[in-house]
């Protein structure tokens, strides 16, 4: 219709141009309208807490990027226009952080990490050859990598999603960082980091790579056959820089949370694969409610989290018993 008006000689040149311009955006607009309708329908059929806040009252979060200029002092110097910066790291940190905020707002109705529009601050170029990214309780920090084992940590959008999700956990379940709660804390960040990566690429569960940190692996690591930090689909795989356990029987207190997280990571992967489609529409909604829909539980056990998801799978999708069966089978497979 728009194209027809754009070519209608009865209309003025200005009017035809307006219709031609509008037609260029029509496809994308229709896709967005359909996606939004799908989320709202899911939200309305679902639960209590954050999803009730679709269309949050507070304004969306400000996205700020500071430059540490290879120093170790946080937050560094604010960059005036990071979204258009000539510094690719600054531009990436801004764009991907904004995309993560949009992911949480669109898919879960959450306004920033605290669900109240908290400013999202990222510090880049932290320290020298720094092989890490972290959340310090207030902000994200990214190193440039040493160029051999790792490259710039802003290059992996799942890593940016992972760090921001630590903020979401801090403002919701408040999971501790040791023992079972620590493993859950890390897993939640991997789950939502990977889910964000899939959402950003509009991938189905079978199209997704399920790798954590694929895009920050440096040439030295790749030459040795390491293609990721972790693989949610196969946590013990030899291509992982840090292979993980896959069964709860392998768990013991005192494990590094980045190690024990392999168990719930695999449970999420198996649930999402069995459910099929897009991970954020069903499995993701269940995990999000299990994280945010309960009072803070710093010492949550993995079995208690599994129980939450089993219950939620039934209550969120009562007409789809296959969803609950998938979640149940996934946890059972890892021994929980």
């Amino acid at each position: 219709m728009l194209k027809r008006f754009a070519n209608d000689k009865k209309l003025s040149a200005e009017q035809r141009k307006s219709f031609a311009d509008a037609s260029k955006f029509e496809k994308e607009w229709r896709q967005q309208r359909l996606a939004r309708a799908e989320y709202i329908r899911a939200a309305q059929s679902i639960l209590p807490t954050a999803l009730a806040a679709v269309g949050p009252a507070a304004p969306p979060p400000a996205i700020v990027v500071d430059d540490c200029a290879h120093g170790n002092t946080l937050p560094g110097t604010p960059l005036p226009n990071p979204g258009t910066s000539a510094d690719a790291t600054a531009k990436r940190a801004f764009i991907e952080t904004k995309a993560v905020a949009k992911f949480y707002a669109t898919v879960f109705g959450r306004n920033s990490v605290n669900n109240a529009g908290m400013k999202l601050l990222s510090s880049i170029h932290y320290s020298v050859n720094y092989n890490n990214a972290f959340w310090n309780g207030n902000q994200m920090t990214y190193g440039d990598g040493d160029g051999s084992i790792f490259i710039d940590f802003t290059k992996a959008n799942d890593v940016i999603g992972h760090e921001l999700t630590h903020g979401v956990t801090q403002y919701s379940a408040q999971l501790a960082y040791a023992n079972q709660a620590g493993g859950l804390n890390e897993s939640i960040s991997d789950v939502f980091g990977s889910m964000f990566r899939q959402w950003d690429a509009n991938q189905s569960v079978t199209q997704a790579d399920w790798l954590i940190g694929k895009d920050i692996m440096g040439p030295g690591a790749i030459a040795r056959g390491f293609t990721c930090l972790r693989d949610m689909a196969d946590p013990a795989a030899t291509h992982c820089l840090a292979p993980q356990p896959t069964k709860f029987s392998q768990y013991h207190d005192g494990m590094d949370p980045h190690y024990s997280s392999g168990i719930p990571n695999l449970a999420f992967y198996q649930a999402a694969m069995a459910i099929g489609g897009k991970s954020w529409l069903k499995a993701g909604q269940i995990w999000y409610q299990a994280l945010t829909g309960f009072p803070p539980s710093p010492n949550l056990k993995m079995s208690a989290f599994a129980k939450r998801t089993r219950t939620l799978a039934g209550s969120l999708f009562p007409a789809e018993p296959a969803v609950k069966a998938a979640v149940n089978a996934a946890w059972t497979a890892v021994g929980l």
Binding site: N72, N129, N131, N132, A133, F134, W135, N136, G137, N138, D146, I149, F150, F153, V159, H162, E163, H166, Q170, A176, Y177, N185, S189, G213, G220, A221, R224, F226, L229, L241, A242, P243, Q244, M255, D256, H258, Y259
Partner: protein
Amino acid sequence: MALLHVERIGGLAGFGGAGAHVRSLGQLDLDTLSAEEQRAVENLFQSKGKSKATPIRDGFSYRISRTTSGRTETIEASESTVPKSLTQCVKDELV
């Protein structure tokens, strides 16, 4: 000479963890540190590296060992509490 053995652990990649193929090791002579850093190291050992729970996630920690009077002590401390000379003495490597 009192030698400090330092290992950087944790972080997003889980440095030094079970099965991890990335680690970071270093050592340095305590006597080469400034008086201020020597005091900071002593304080870490006196407090056994313990500090109140922090909200930092994916941060590095440091495992520091020293041998005095034939006895080896090992502590773990978060990056922000460890003197710069120690955090800079380690080298990241694939294993």
